[in-house]
């Protein structure tokens, strides 16, 4: 609206519009709304990236492999360890050192020796298969990390636009706390967690509640009005 129109508005009978200050307040509200909407778009983009990072088949394979490797009773895992031994040896590692690193039992070492000596082709193809699997896992991991980095940048962009968005603060707290897509930073994680909790985010309140009950850093200050606490119970005479 140009100045000439603005002056007409003041003079128009019945119009309660006074330009300058009121108009500035209205413009400010609209700008805040636009920023908030754009921040939500960044949040949405970041969440898509976050989901993609954790749904990547390569990443899932890594997680599953880790889960398997924790199950020591699994014969299949032992077999994989033997192949891993063969791989290291094929790549020039000393058999005794490799065996020590992988903590192979005498039985496993015997099996590895048999495989290598009597079925060299099978042994080599098994090693190739594992190498290929490793490369796939590595690529999956790289994709996973790259997506997390991008997700973090999206959340940061949203935060810059709307520093009080409770969802953005909550997810940033998680990213800083775990070190997803960014170096771990407990101070920043707490700052975002408290800001999210202050706006009533249930997840953030639970997380702070846990910290409070466990006596960890980041417990809300005693006068924080936004943090719901159980009714005070007197401990007098309890002993």
């Amino acid at each position: 609206m140009n100045q000439a129109n603005a002056i007409e508005l003041i003079q128009a009978p019945g119009a309660a519009l006074s330009v300058s200050a009121v108009s500035r307040l209205a413009a400010r509200g609209r700008m805040d709304l636009l920023c908030s909407e754009e921040a939500n778009e960044w949040l949405h983009k970041g969440m898509e990236m976050h989901t993609a990072a954790f749904e990547d088949p390569g990443w899932i394979a890594v997680v599953e492999a880790q889960a398997h490797s924790r199950s020591q009773a699994d014969r299949h895992v032992q077999f994989r360890t033997i192949i891993e031994f063969l791989r290291l040896v094929a790549e020039g590692a000393d058999p005794d050192a490799a065996s020590e690193t992988l903590k192979l039992s005498g039985e496993d070492r015997e099996m590895a020796r048999t495989l290598r000596s009597f079925w060299p082709d099978t042994s080599a193809s098994l090693v190739r298969a594992v190498q290929k699997e490793r490369e796939g896992e590595r690529a999956g991991l790289l994709r996973h990390e790259e997506r997390l980095r991008r997700a973090f940048h999206c959340f940061q962009a949203g935060y810059r636009l709307d520093p009080y968005n409770r969802e953005i603060n909550y997810i940033l707290a998680e990213y800083y706390s775990v070190g997803l897509g960014v170096a771990r930073d407990e101070d920043l994680a707490l700052l975002h967690l408290r800001r999210s909790a202050a706006s009533g985010h249930s997840g953030a309140l639970r997380a702070l509640g846990y910290r409070y009950s466990a006596g960890l850093r980041g417990a809300p200050p005693p006068d924080a009005t936004w943090f719901p606490r159980p009714a005070h119970r007197s401990t007098r005479g309890a002993s």
Binding site: M1, N5, E8, L9, A12, P13, G14, A15, A16, L17, S18, S20, A21, V22, S23, R24, L25, A26, A27, R28, G29, R30, D32, L33, S36, D162, Y164, R195, A198, S199, W226
Partner: protein, 256 residues
């Protein structure tokens, strides 16, 4: 005998002009009603916005100014003092805007009956329908009263305006058909000009910040979202943050 009524070209033109005028008067009444509705809706929304959101911005600006003043006292540099003065000026500006007359505007939900009555007043009393200058003066005065009454949603006052006009001193103009033709043409010109003015004012009003904000809030309300409430929550958060910062800063100062 073939009895044909002879109508002179002048009378024929006068009849056509009267028809044109009648149509324009009807359009004018509708557009005046639209304009009055828009003004009143905007004023009401503005009042609600200032009461719910404006006061929070004023409070936030006050805390921001206090922080800037503390920082200026701490730093003692001309830049910090200038920033503090600027922050204080904005706080005063926001306070004045959010507590001014505009914030007292009431909600505007006109009943169909009231709209009909106002349209009737526009049709009867509009100054651009005046045939003489004294008549125009009277109509302008009554139209201003009608606008104010409509904004207040005061149907009785609108009826009084109509009555007052109905029982005005006779202002019937003299002269023959030529003079009347002149008057009708002038009325058409005035109404056409007024219609242009109304469209320009509607365009100016709808492009104002408050109108854009109102459109946004109403659009989201239709989807079940209360934008004003969300805005208020967000600003309260910022106030809380600024208050905490101020208190921390002040406590540090006391320790020193």
């Amino acid at each position: 005998m073939n009895a044909e009524i002879y109508i002179s070209p002048q009378l024929d033109e006068l009849a056509r002009k009267r028809e044109e005028l009648a149509l324009l008067e009807s359009v004018l009444a509708d557009r005046e009603l639209s304009l009055a509705n828009l003004r009143a809706e905007l004023a009401a929304f503005e009042g609600r916005y200032l009461r719910q959101i404006g006061v929070l911005y004023a409070e936030l600006d006050d805390w921001t100014a206090r922080l800037a003043e503390l920082a200026a006292a701490d730093a003692g540099t001309p830049q910090a003092q200038s920033a503090a003065a600027q922050a204080r000026a904005q706080a005063q500006d926001s306070y004045a805007a959010s507590h001014g007359e505009a914030s007292t505007a009431e909600e505007f939900w006109p009943q169909p009956e009231l709209k009909k009555l106002f349209r009737e007043v526009c049709n009867q009393v509009h100054p651009d329908r005046a045939a003489t200058e004294p008549d125009r003066d009277l109509r302008e005065k009554l139209m201003a009263q009608a606008n104010a009454a409509y904004k207040r949603q005061d149907a009785d006052a609108l009826r009084r305006v109509l009555e007052e006009y109905k029982f005005r001193p006779d202002a019937a103009p003299g002269g023959g058909s030529a003079a009347e033709r002149e008057r009708v043409i002038r009325q058409i010109q005035r109404i056409t000009r007024r219609l242009g003015e109304i469209e320009a004012e509607i365009a100016a009003l709808t492009s104002a910040e408050i109108a854009k904000l109102m459109a946004k809030v109403q659009g989201e309300a239709a989807k079940g979202r209360d934008l004003m409430d969300e805005m208020a929550r967000s600003i309260r958060m910022r106030i809380e943050q600024a208050r905490e910062e101020f208190q921390e800063h002040a406590a540090t100062e006391r320790v020193r």
